[in-house]
Symmetry: C2
Subunit: 186 residues, 2 copies
């Protein structure tokens, strides 16, 4: 039995042992090494991932070949190309590992079956989707209206403890500033 998975879900809903037995049977534990991809661009997105250990990023490459980082994620966060997953379309984003990673994955059809078999999971995923929305809204406001210094402060607040685990080049890419500008913000 995965204590991590149970505790993660129980932060939001209370589960009986029977419910958790069912829930657990829908998740698959997977391990990835640093630099491995969980999702590559332009592919069908089958799964979403709950991170037990590791640090990952979701990013996209523009037409000039430049990488833009949408989000970082670590233990207790979910990551995927959620837009592609929800719409069951091919991915715009790539998701890869900044450190060795362990995740629990659940497939699209399984998520819907799980929600009908264990109704509290519908509530759990509604709340999680709302939290995801909140993080994106904050990211947009930060991108549209804040200075590089304020965006860096938002990053520190949004990702406490991440700073020393993420190469500076990637933090600069997340903030949309050059490596030189970032070094002035530290």
């Amino acid at each position: 039995m995965s204590h991590f998975l149970k505790e993660h879900i129980q932060e939001i809903v209370t589960l009986s042992d029977d419910e958790f037995e069912i829930i657990q049977s829908f998740f698959v534990k997977k391990r990835f090494r640093k630099r491995q991809f969980l999702i590559q661009e332009h592919q069908h997105v089958h799964e979403i991932f709950l991170i037990e250990k590791g640090i990952l990023k979701s990013s996209f490459i523009d037409t000039t070949g430049k990488e833009h980082i949408l989000q970082f994620a670590a233990s207790n966060w979910w990551i995927s190309d959620f837009a592609a997953f929800f719409k069951q379309e091919s991915s715009s984003l790539a998701v890869d590992c900044i450190e060795d990673t362990e995740v629990y994955s659940i497939a699209y059809e399984d998520l819907n079956i799980l929600c009908s078999k264990v109704p509290v999971m519908e509530h759990f995923f509604r709340v999680k989707s709302n939290f995801g929305y909140v993080a994106l809204q904050q990211r947009i406001l930060s991108l549209m209206s804040k200075s590089a210094k304020e965006r860096y402060e938002d990053f520190i607040k949004q990702y406490p403890g991440f700073k020393d685990h993420i190469p500076k080049q990637l933090i600069a890419s997340y903030l949309g500033v050059s490596r030189e500008t970032l070094s002035r913000l530290y």
Copy 2:
């Protein structure tokens, strides 16, 4: 009985007449005139709004006093400061009417009670939250990596039929370009 509300919900879930009776009792119909605010900045956000008629925008004012438009919304869309609503914090955004508007509103506590009384509504709101996430992810990708011309094309795709109902000044603000740049994109 509101056919609009029932049809809107039934795009995602099937409802019995009894279920819809309960659902309807949780919503309040409200009317606003052009330029009226549904949400003002720095206030507690009690409600989310389903638009029956009208066009609205959500926007925020940066420290220099400049307005940035996050989203437009019309019939069959939901609008609020969702981040503030979900976290029950005060709003960063303002929501106001570009045209005379009719909405159905539901309050935070009522939404949670409704979801426990009529469980299909938990599914309905999970799907809606996922769609909201998708729209924001597309908005971020557009903002971070696309040219003004591509952002304008995204706007046309995202908001079919809106172009002729929204003052050009507001479209320019949504795209993050000047009024002059916008006129070259038309």
